[in-house]
Symmetry: C2
Subunit: 204 residues, 2 copies
């Protein structure tokens, strides 16, 4: 999960007050992400985020009004990408293509964001936040609907739940942290295709 860790500490005592707002904001989000991964969202306070950056809590409040706002900003880019995956999958006419596009898209997100994806799926506070926002809750349901199709039988339900769990750990398991993106992407894709009986794209 090291790749998720943003710059640490930096110059102490708020020496980055001279940074452009965008940079200070992204440094704050990187530090928050790092703390969320290590302590969970509930175990991370605004004070801890301020300490990690070497700034005052007031400086954090200057950017964000609550921890919830920070969580939303941390997960927003991944959720926007997930929405694009749902759009692309739903645009396919055939079930196999919908599954293929959805799985390739989600695998790619997991590989590029690693631990973030697991945090979104497992942290109870993040779960409540996502479920409390209708467009986000709808997004989760859209991906599930692509994976299971209408009126899923028991096998399909079990397999699609297993795919979610299998992808979630990919970003968490320390034994996989050393794998490069391409290797991880290739094996994740092959295995989730096998789990859901998805045919690879015909080579043209």
């Amino acid at each position: 999960m090291d790749r998720l860790r943003g710059p640490r500490g930096g110059a102490p005592g708020g020496a980055d007050r001279g940074f452009a707002v965008g940079t200070a904001r992204s440094r704050l989000l990187a530090a928050a992400m790092d703390l969320f991964m290590r302590h969970g969202v509930s175990g991370t306070s605004l004070q801890m985020i301020a300490d990690e950056l070497g700034v005052t809590k007031a400086a954090v409040y200057h950017q964000f009004h609550s921890k919830e706002d920070i969580v939303e900003a941390v997960i927003a880019p991944a959720l926007a990408e997930l929405e694009a995956v749902a759009d692309a999958a739903e645009a396919q006419r055939r079930r196999n293509d919908r599954l293929r596009v959805a799985l390739e898209g989600v695998v790619d997100l997991v590989v590029r964001h690693r631990g973030l994806f697991a945090m979104i799926m497992t942290d109870p506070q993040v779960g409540r936040l996502v479920r409390s926002r209708p467009p986000l809750r709808g997004l989760e349901e859209r991906i599930e609907a692509v994976l299971t199709g209408p009126d899923p039988d028991a096998e399909t339900l079990v397999n699609s739940a297993m795919v979610s769990g299998a992808l979630m750990v990919a970003g968490l398991d320390p034994r996989l942290a050393g794998l490069d993106d391409e290797t991880l992407r290739r094996h994740l894709t092959a295995t989730v295709f096998r789990m859901l009986h998805v045919r690879r794209r015909a080579t043209s």
Copy 2:
């Protein structure tokens, strides 16, 4: 996860002081398990366990000296069964048989204990407890060694991590809560066998 929920509340005001010790103990463990599943281990206090049972905190202390002792007692039966699975798998000479026995055993544990297995795998406090006890840490490593074999390549590492995650969610996903044990066991087994390229036992 309803099947994991023990008797609730019962007669208020400690009316079960007349119960045999074994029964009071198992009622306490069932209530603790229920609270751990709903609030996580860190979100559950001894006071909450006492309130759930309608007894005083002193009555809880009479049975267990700390929350950690309760967690250990809650997970002990499943860990003993997991140890038996590791023994049985390691006793097999052929790799395919080792995998088959380990996977069938772990699937059976997941199905019978459902949410407990996920709690053992995901709760940070439970993880720290399991890792702090050498025999338990050794058990986790034995199961992993059976699943990956010696010197695993990237594909084997990715797949065995995915199997852990896939089985973990089986006890958590609310969409699977309505499936009976036999249906869940059959689909989980088929899919983890497919994930790890395990051949079924030859029919004799």
